[in-house]
Each structure stands twice: as C-alpha cells, then as structure tokens.
C-alpha cells in the first residue's frame, strides 16, 4: 500500500534546531531578554486605533497584505479552542460568540471544537477542521510548542489566525495577543516594590507551572523583586483553588508574622488571599490582582492598596475581527499586539461595573454588545 505522511513540512515542534522551549535550563527557560525588553517598552507606547474600541487597537503594527485570502462571503469560519476550563476563557468564549453574532451577514457558519485542554485532541481537531470546508481557521493553542506542527500544516490550506498562547512559527496570517506576560508581571512587581519598599515581605501566588504566558509573568517579576531588594518570602502554586490559596496565605501569616504584599500571576484567588488576612486579624496588604469582578468589588469596598494588570479577554473579539479582515483581503498586522491596560486606584470606578458574576473579567470589551450583561451571566 502507498505510504503517505501527514508530517508537517519540516517536522513538528522543532523545524530547525531546538525550539525556544526545548532545553530546560532551570529557571531561565521561560526568559527571553529581548522579548522582555520589548514588552516593557511597549507598555509606554500609544496604541493605534479607536480609543473606545481597545480590541481594535494595535501597537507597533507591521501590516501584511492578505489579498490572496479574499473570498466571496458568506464565510465558514472555524475555531479550534484549547478549552474553556477557566473563567478567563469562559468570558472570552462568550465574547467571541457574541462577536460572531455581530457578523451573521458575513459568517454563515461558525464551527468550534473544544480540545478539553488536550494537545493531542487539538491536533486532531485542527486536522478535522482543515479537512472540512473552513474558509479561515482561528486557533487558541493549548500548548505553544506542541501545537506548532498542526498549525503549520493548517497554514498551507487555510488562512490561520492564532491568539492568546501562540505557536513557534510565523506561518499564521496574524498572531493576536496583548503586550504580554513580562509586561503583566513587571507592572505588578513594580507597583508592589514601590508599596512595600526594600526588605518588604511579598508572597507570590502562582497558578501552576509550565504555562508560558504565566511563566513570563513570574520571570519578569522575579527580576524586579531581586533588583529592588524585596524579600520574597515564598512562591506557591494554588492551582487557582481559593481554599488552597487561603490556607497557604494563612500559613505564611502564621510563619512570617506579617506580610506586606501579595503578588499574583492570576487574580482568581485574590479575594481568598485577602480574607486570610482578615481572618487572622491582620491589616490588608498591598496586592496585585487582575481585572476579575470579585477582586475589583473587594477593592472598592475595602479601599485596597491594589493594582490590577490585565490580560484582556477582549482579544477573543479581535480574533473574529481579524479573520473577517483576512477573508475580505484587508491588511492585518502580522503580529497584532493589543494594549494591556492596568487598573489602578484612579481608574477603578471606570472599569468596575456592578451586577456581573464574581469571576467576570472587566476587560471583555463587551459592554456595548447586544445582550450585555445578561449573556455574560448577570
């Protein structure tokens, strides 16, 4: 029998030499100095595009021609989703569907497959979608390195739009993402270093190891804390379980006597961490959270010393917008860098909108969409 191979041209994961992520040199594996410096600089850039539509804005775009992808509508748009296993992704997914509904004239069919956080399933999903009659494929990869070959294979057949976690290849028409994890982590760390001062005690709460966007956050923060002489009393993983987070913080309070700051790579357990201070009868620390509803509410109610860097969920809208632009043959940036606003004491009230679910993300960019807020669970 004929032997055919679907191995992506050049092979998977490591087309040439070792990919960035392949050699685990302890600690620095996720640190890329150039990218780090670029992101920190990007924080100060002004984004192009409509200020009231941050999901349409872009930083330092290098536009690319897409005329060869232009086809007659209405289109069949496909989406391979890593999972909806956390509230961030849930809000994003809801927003994305709402965005699709805004374009029902152009999108006749929207097929989405959920890989349930399994790389292998997502590879098959992508193969299946590409094997169908999709006009464009949006991918939110589960793991950067391992999804690369599948995405590369897909690039040869349909225009591919990647957002959030990224892949190790340039073949997608555009890669959409906010400024990035280094910027997120650095912003939070700079704020805390300023609040607790040299020698101040900071506890770092992380979700889990191994997700690059999260690793970048800590990699940047770690450097800033070291440079500013902040005493990092612990780095713990919470797996986003509020009870675990609260227990960990209680233990540290007991051990350390007092803690001045809490740094988080993901704000989900922020309120639980603060409650540990309350239950121990301790003053609330300075804290860096995220744009999650319950954290913002707590912030407002308690008048926290806080800051919330964001990793906006509105990028899920951008992916659909970009797909349509590509199918229309309009130019898109080859790397679509979205702004990454930071919530602080001054602009808090501008972002906090009451009545949304506790795990809602404020930067969904969905406030003006039809069925808001009901569709987002209010």
């Amino acid at each position: 029998a004929a032997c055919t191979s679907d191995v992506p041209p050049g092979g998977a994961a490591a087309p040439t030499g070792a990919p960035a992520t392949s050699a685990p040199a302890a600690g620095s594996e996720f640190f890329d100095q150039a990218e780090h410096d670029r992101q920190l600089a990007l924080r100060d850039q002004t984004a192009q595009g409509p200020a009231d539509q941050p999901w349409m804005q872009m930083l330092e775009p290098e536009m690319r021609d897409t005329a060869r992808y232009a086809t007659q509508g209405p289109h069949h748009v496909c989406f391979s989703n890593a999972s909806v296993d956390n509230p961030w992704r849930q809000v994003g997914w809801t927003t994305m569907q709402a965005e699709v509904d805004l374009h029902r004239d152009e999108i006749a069919n929207f097929t989405a497959l959920d890989a349930g956080a399994s790389d292998d399933k997502q590879i098959s999903d992508i193969q299946q979608l590409v094997g169908g009659d999709c006009d464009a494929l949006i991918v939110s990869p589960n793991t950067t390195a391992t999804l690369t070959p599948a995405v590369e294979a897909a690039c040869g057949q349909v225009p591919v739009i990647v957002f959030d976690r990224g892949v190790d290849t340039d073949c997608p028409v555009t890669f959409i993402h906010p400024v990035g994890g280094y910027a997120f982590g650095a912003t939070a760390a700079e704020f805390l270093a300023g609040e607790v001062g040299q020698g101040g005690k900071v506890l770092a709460l992380r979700v889990l190891p191994g997700v690059d966007v999260l690793e970048h956050r800590w990699a940047a923060a770690e450097r800033i804390f070291a440079a500013r002489g902040v005493n990092v009393v612990g780095v713990e993983f919470t797996e986003n379980d509020t009870a675990t987070a609260k227990s960990i913080v209680s233990d540290y309070l007991q051990r350390e006597g007092q803690i001045n700051g809490i740094w988080m790579d993901d704000g989900t357990a922020g309120v639980a961490a603060l409650e540990a201070f309350e239950d121990a009868g301790q003053p609330l620390p300075a804290i860096s959270g995220e744009d999650q509803q319950q954290f913002l509410e707590k912030w407002q109610a308690e008048g926290l010393t806080a800051q919330a860097p964001t990793y906006p969920t509105f990028q899920w809208r951008t992916a659909v917008v970009a797909a349509l632009q590509v199918l229309r043959g309009e130019q898109v940036p080859s790397e679509w860098i979205l702004p990454q606003p930071t919530i602080n004491g001054e602009n808090l009230s501008q972002y906090l909108q009451p009545g949304l679910p506790p795990l809602h993300y404020a930067l969904c960019g969905c406030q003006q969409m039809p069925d808001f807020p009901a569709r987002w669970g209010a």
Binding site: P87, V91, T94, D241, A243, K246, T268, E275
Partner: protein, 330 residues
Amino acid sequence: MRALLSRGGAVAPVFAVLLVLLVAIAVVNPNFIEPASLLAYLKRAAPLAILAVGQYFVIVSGEFDLSVGSLVTVQVVVAARLIDGDESATLPVIALLVALGLLIGLLNGLITTRLYVPSFVTTLGMLLVLSGAVFLWTGGAPRGSLSAAFRVPGRQGIEIPGFGQVPWSALILVAVAAGAVALMRSAWGHTLVATGDNDRATALAGVPVARVRTTAFVLSALAATLAAILLGGFAGVSAQVGEGLEFSAITAVVLGGVVLGGGRGSVLAALAGALVLEALFTLLNLLGVSGALESTVQGVIIIAAVAYAARRVGRTRRPPAVPDPSPQPA
C-alpha cells in the same frame, strides 16, 4: 477512649502515624501546640475529615464514591448562583443543597444497588454528569456570590470565654465524629459492615442490603454537602473547590486501615486518616518542601502508611482493587 480507638487490643496504626506527624509539626513549629493553632488545623482538616467519614460508610459497605469531589463543587456553585448575595436566601438554599445531596446520594445508591452497576462506574459517571451539568447550568463559570451568613460555619467561630475562638468547623467535625461513632455502634452500623463483608449472607440474614448501601451513599453525599458548606464558607466561590477531593477522601479512609472491598475498619480511624493527610500537607509546607516535589513525597508517604497498616491486617486475602457488587438478586 482507648476502647474506642482500638480493636482487639491494638490501637489502629493510623493513630500512631497521626501522633508522629503532629509531634513532628510541633518540633518544626513549636507554636503549633497552642490551642489556637491546633484549632486552626482542625478547622482546615474538617471538610476532608467529614468527607472521609461519608466515604467510610460507602467503602465499608463494599462500595466506592468517586462523585463527592464534583458534588462539593456543584454544591458551592449552586449555592452561589441561588443565593447571589441575598442574606435571606441562605437558609432556604442550604435546605435545597441538602435536598440535592440527598438526591445525588439516592441516585448513586439506587443505580448501584438496583441496576447492579459497580459503584466505581456509577460514581465515575456521576462525576462526569455533575461537573458537566453544573457548568452547563451556569454557563461555564460560577455566578452569583455567597451570603455572609452562608460563610459563617466555614469561616468563623464561637467565642468561648477564657479560651478564645473555637471555629464552627471544629465543632461540627466533633459532632459529625460523635454521630458517626454512635451510628456505627447501632444495629445499622453492624449490618453495614456485615453487608460489606458478605452481602449475600447478610441479605439472607434479613438485612435489606440495597437499602443499607443506598443509605451509605446518601450519607456520603450529605457529608459532601456539609463539606461544601464549610469549604465555600472558608474560601468563597470557586470552580475548583472539589477537585481531587474524592481521591483524598478515599486515601484518607484507606490510611485509616479501612479495607477497600468492605467489611473492615472503624470510622474513627478513617477520620484520623484525613487528619493524617492534612497534617502531612501542613508538615510538608512547614518544611518548605518545594511545591513540585510535594506530590512525590506525598505519594511515597501514602504508600508507606498504607503498607504499614496492611502489615497488621491479615495478609492472606488480597481484596480486589475494586469490589464487585456482582448482580445478586436477593
């Protein structure tokens, strides 16, 4: 007390393990032996300990309950959505949670005993159904929020003059333990263990084994409900609260020397198994065993502790990994 803890003269090994761990914690952190610290430890251990008590009933009757973890999540998420910050809704919603727990336990029990589905499968299926259903209902992420009143049992305590604050969790745990011991000493308790040992013989002795086992599943689900109230109270809404709790609870029960397959072991030892697990986490934390290697240490210690417990029990009969309630129309 000794009589309570022992059987045939020998104190169950789990109590020795617990003592060693507590002493080790006290050595690393002398503050630990202060009443406040001990109470805090009990407070933290309470949800798992209560789950272990519930799981004990099921395991000693010869079954498994893998659905408790997802049931805990369901209960917390349901409570948040229904209460949605409304204080006055607290009690009615708690009543509803209890009813839901009752229903799930009943389903687990009836499917296992009436449809003869091995409980490992019943409750594995239930785990999938529950975790899927609750997020289907809430659209993927928890909604609403818990009331302050709902959070009292898990978060607060009662002020006892001259002693300080005693967490409600600790008191509830003591009550659950007392209730469980009383239940196991009743005729029902004896028939429950006999059912786990030989359900055919027990059925022929006039025991309605299907009902007895179903009751065990209901008790387990009610324990999960109580644990959910404490966990939700302790740390608020989360989609992850129940994750992995079924394995922790089963591990705790087995650490207590209770035999998977049924028919052997005491409820207090199962509860002590949960205290051992929690003490183990605390100690590893205190020793600063890095987050990552923690699992490895945990795995080794769990195997060692169970091996130690197994040394005392008869070696001749190796129970099956999964008991088989093979269809036995009684």
